[in-house]
Amino acid sequence: MLTRWRPMDALQKDFERFFHDELLPQRFFEGFFDTPLGEWKPALEIVEEEELYRVKVDLPEVKREDIELKVENDVMTISGQRQDEREETKAGYYYSERRVGSFTRSFRLPKHVDDENVSAEYRDGVLTVTLPKAAVSRGRTIDVR
């Protein structure tokens, strides 16, 4: 096959890869520009295990009663509020990276989740939601007679 020789293409691709994937601290910017003021985007993780899915969300300083979990039409929504308690007493901020305000994260549950038995635990600033798989989808071996 003949292709047009474009020596700059490879270089450009490398630049893109390098500056985009390798160098830029993407996580630093993530959620910074795409969340409105007064909102933040807590980091979320979903791990599939043999019999369940485990969802973990980093929610430092969020009170248990300020977290809301909802399952509606296969969509799980974790929302809440991180309150800024220092606001009234502070004499001055030298430096501020931490974000406060409301947050909402939604994701679609895999179809075969036993949504009646979803449980959640909050500890050390991390919310862990356990979603057991529905019995039918765990897979079973069928004997051939």
Binding site: L11, R27, E30, L59, P60, E97, R98, D124, G125
Partner: protein, 134 residues
């Protein structure tokens, strides 16, 4: 062997060889987000460290340099398949140079709900005096 002639190969290799080498050698790391607040009687350094326990953290004061180090350990589950991950793990170190009016002897730290709060009291003589009017 015939190889595709890449006139920029050398340039590219030199350009990011060092950076990539460094990256490969660095262990996984993350940085907790920090606030530094000044109050009338003290300063506060506040770090978001969700999931960390007391034993995962070390706070050190040397001269006027405060170092907070720690490790956020990834809990690997056997046969666990990550479907989505934004949470970061690994070791971190954040270093702060303290103001001269901090009383190093009286620094206190508290860990609650995944937030580490370090309180650095100002020396009494540096605090504003209130003079009452008789």
């Amino acid at each position: 062997m015939l190889r595709h002639w890449d006139p920029f190969h050398q340039v590219r290799r030199d350009l990011y060889r060092d950076a990539l080498a460094q990256k490969g050698q660095r262990p996984e790391s993350w940085q907790p987000l920090v606030d530094i607040v000044e109050e009338e009687s003290h300063y506060q350094v506040v770090l978001d460290v969700p999931g960390l326990r007391r034993e995962d953290l070390a706070i050190r004061l040397e001269q006027s340099v405060l170092t907070v180090e720690g490790e956020r350990k990834r809990v690997e589950v056997e046969n666990g398949k990550p479907l989505h991950h934004e949470r970061r793990f690994g070791t971190f170190r954040r270093v702060f140079t303290l103001s001269r009016d901090v009383d190093g002897e009286a620094i206190e730290a508290n860990l609650e709900l995944g937030v580490l709060t370090i309180t650095l009291p100002k020396r009494p003589e540096k605090q504003p005096k209130r003079i009452s009017i008789n």
